[in-house]
Amino acid sequence: MKKFIKKVVIFIIPIFILLFGVSFLADGDSDNIYLKFTSPQQKSLILGTSRAAQGIQPNVFKEILGIDIFNYAFNVNFSPYGKVYYESVLKKHKREKNGIFILTVDPWSISSFNKNPNDMDMFRENDTPIANMNFVNSSPNFEYLFKYFKGHYKNIIIDHSRFLYLHKDGWLDVSGLDMDSIAYNGRIQRTLEPFREIKTNLSQVRLDYLLKTVNYFKKYGEVYIVRLPVYPQMAEIDNKMMPNFEYIISEVIQNSDGYLDMLPASNRYKYIDSNHLHKESGAVVSQEIAEWIKAQRNLK
């Protein structure tokens, strides 16, 4: 018996060492969200869906405002406002004063795809890493590697995507996509289609959690609400979906330190599809947000 256990342990040790070593190699090429869970707790955060994950570049804020801000935005299925995202954000936040918090908003992030938009048991983010991750600040993050890298360990060693790279500051860099008119227009139309078809309802629960998030962050610094630009046809879908969006989130705006609506200027920017800014425009938008925050702070 002892001989058996001894041999098994001796046999297994090299495998553990190998896996442990490989875990340290996981980076922004390995997975779209892994690094979001490996940074330490953050004093300043950017929240929202993939529009923010791809569109807002933290390094620009460092240059203009001199702050380290972490992009903790995911996508429309993982991180709409709600209990799940709120609790994950609490784990990621370092409770220190003078933080800056940019909460991006759009109709999708406060809506539900279900008949009963306030039934939290049916929320789409309930079975995602955002809900299931207990540890969001450890590097390597073994919990994430065990739960979500099954079948993908080779991605740690091989760059798994030519197009996506997640920076250490949480910004999802998308580049290398074919931008010729045929590919570009095809991508725009393909990505518009699902949003035309999805039936959504405003969720009061989500709206309450957005407000709760704002009120929580207010205790630790300045909170800015931003509506990011999207491809003009997508902006039409957004406006049709929730024509009185600004009115709906009016209490959220009132409780914040400022609201910047960039949607009307959507046609000034370049996009990679109907929802997401091209990285060049992302840098411009990030710069405009940072300058706006700077101006807001100077006003005080």
Binding site: M1, F4, L19, K147, K150, G151, Y153, K154
Partner: protein
């Protein structure tokens, strides 16, 4: 709890250490540990259905004890029927209620009258078909006086819920497993090492072969209208390896795990794709279910004794019931009937037992005749699996029509990429390894007598690295749904 999960990787060593180091001196305590561990294992998935297993265990235990005391034939029959009705009642309700309801509704609508009955939102308890048949075998064997009923409830509960084979078999006979529960187990080094080897091979079958094949089988079956005939053939072959890797992989892990605890379960798969005819295939595929139906259905019906009509009837009954056991869908019924059609000519011409040994026994390569027989049997099996995998009969028919269209002879569309090519190479390597070990209990059995230690260990590490490197997208075990 899934065998290929981190939860199980933690659970198994804990139970193993408790079993051999803490409660090793007391058989009763060992059986209590097995029963508790099995309930934790099952409850990890959904604790609410533990009550179902417990109730089924209680009923069969009480029926067994009563059968031991009762000599009156009529009363014994009543006791047997109580067990059958309870067990099959649960199975019928959870698995077949909606199927029968929908079909009755369709039949009434067809004849011009409507009935109002709503389908229920029923969750199928994992493994219900497996443990139901296992407990039934106990009651029937006690009724037939092939087995003495046990008065040891803990051992009986451990027998019913034994975690390695609880949710997807092998469906153990009480005559084999229960006596092992009732006697002292001894740790045997060689058994434990071979058990670990079997677990490793089972994981390879599941994670590398089945899960990778599933990616392409799902892609092709779910979009079958978009693909040419030759791609559809490839899709059916991918599914053929998926289901074998999935199910026989599970059985290997179950048997290997049992061996770590000193139990010997029956072999469930004996290299079925190397069969030379369908009769041999059915002696090698899901052996525990085939023999269950043979002993508790086919033989009581008269088996192959009697006239031609009886033989035909019994063959169809056993294959169709076996198909229906897999799920409440007409596709499984047709799959069973198709296999009956394959089998009948062999039975009627008395050639169903002509291939009892192993193909190419003692040699490296098969003869041309053996090879062609294996290829034909494999082709028939692949064809039948289309019905098993299809969503419904219409889907199966359109899949087969697409397969045998003129596009069968066109150049296949390149849909698989590099990863697809890797999968095909992995399957080829897998077939070669299975072929070299086809005379053993599983492909890697007794490896120490064939290979030197450095080569053996290098091979184990290669398998482990392939589990990490080539693992496919995680898929649920197919047989959990049965």
């Amino acid at each position: 709890m899934l065998f290929n999960s981190l939860d199980f990787a933690i659970f198994l060593p804990i139970v193993f250490v408790l079993y051999w180091f803490v409660v090793n001196k007391n058989l009763k305590q060992q059986n209590i540990l097995i029963a508790l561990a099995s309930y934790v294992f099952y409850g990890w998935w959904d604790w609410r259905f533990l009550a179902l297993i417990l109730f089924s265990t209680l009923v069969d235990y009480v029926v067994g004890v009563s059968l031991g005391k009762e000599q009156n034939l009529n009363k014994r029959k009543i006791l047997l029927w109580i067990s059958i009705l309870v067990n099959l009642g649960f199975l019928g309700f959870f698995k077949y209620y909606n199927f029968f309801l929908d079909n009755f509704k369709s039949a009434f609508t067809f004849f011009g009258s409507e009935i109002n009955a709503n389908s229920l939102n029923i969750i199928l308890p994992v493994g219900i078909s497996f443990y139901t048949f296992q407990t039934l075998s106990y009651t029937i064997d006690v009724y037939k006086k092939r087995l003495e009923p046990t008065k040891d409830f803990i051992s009986f509960a451990a027998f019913v819920s034994f975690f390695p084979q609880l949710v997807a078999g092998p469906i153990e006979r009480a005559t084999n497993l229960l006596p092992q529960m009732l006697s002292k187990r001894k740790f045997e080094y060689s058994e434990a090492v071979d058990g670990l080897r079997q677990i490793l091979w089972g994981l390879f079958k599941k994670i590398v072969i089945a899960d990778n094949c599933a990616t392409y089988a799902n892609l092709i079956f779910n979009n079958s209208a978009d693909y040419s005939g030759n791609t559809l053939v490839l899709g059916a072959i991918f599914f053929t390896f998926q289901i074998y890797g999935d199910f026989s992989g599970y059985s290997d892990i179950a048997i290997g795990t049992s061996r770590l605890f000193g139990f010997k379960l029956m072999q469930n798969f004996a290299f079925p794709y190397f069969s030379r005819d369908i009769a041999e295939f059915w002696r090698r595929w899901h052996i525990s279910l085939s023999t269950w139906f043979r002993d508790y259905l086919y033989i009581p019906l008269g088996g192959s004794r009697g006239g031609t009509w009886i033989k035909v009837r019994n063959t169809f009954i056993i294959f169709i019931v076996s198909g229906f056991w897999h799920g409440a869908n007409w596709t499984f019924v047709v799959w069973g009937a198709l296999n009956a059609l394959y089998f009948l000519p062999l039975l009627l011409t008395k050639r169903n037992r002509q291939n009892l040994g192993t193909v190419a026994e003692g040699s490296y390569l098969p003869s041309i005749k053996e090879f062609s027989n294996v290829a034909i049997t494999f082709g028939l099996t692949v064809f039948a699996w289309i019905f098993f995998r299809a969503d419904n009969i219409g889907h199966a028919i359109s899949y087969i029509s697409g397969m045998f269209s003129s596009s069968l002879f066109t150049i296949p569309r390149h849909i698989f990429g590099f990863q697809g090519l890797i999968t095909i190479i992995l399957v080829a390597i897998f077939v070669l390894i299975e072929w070299q070990g086809r005379e053993e209990q599983f492909a890697l059995s007794n490896l120490e007598s064939k290979w030197k230690r450095p080569l053996r260990h290098a091979f184990y590490y290669a398998i482990i690295i392939s589990l990490i490197w080539f693992s496919g997208e995680e898929q649920a075990f197919i047989y959990f749904q049965f």
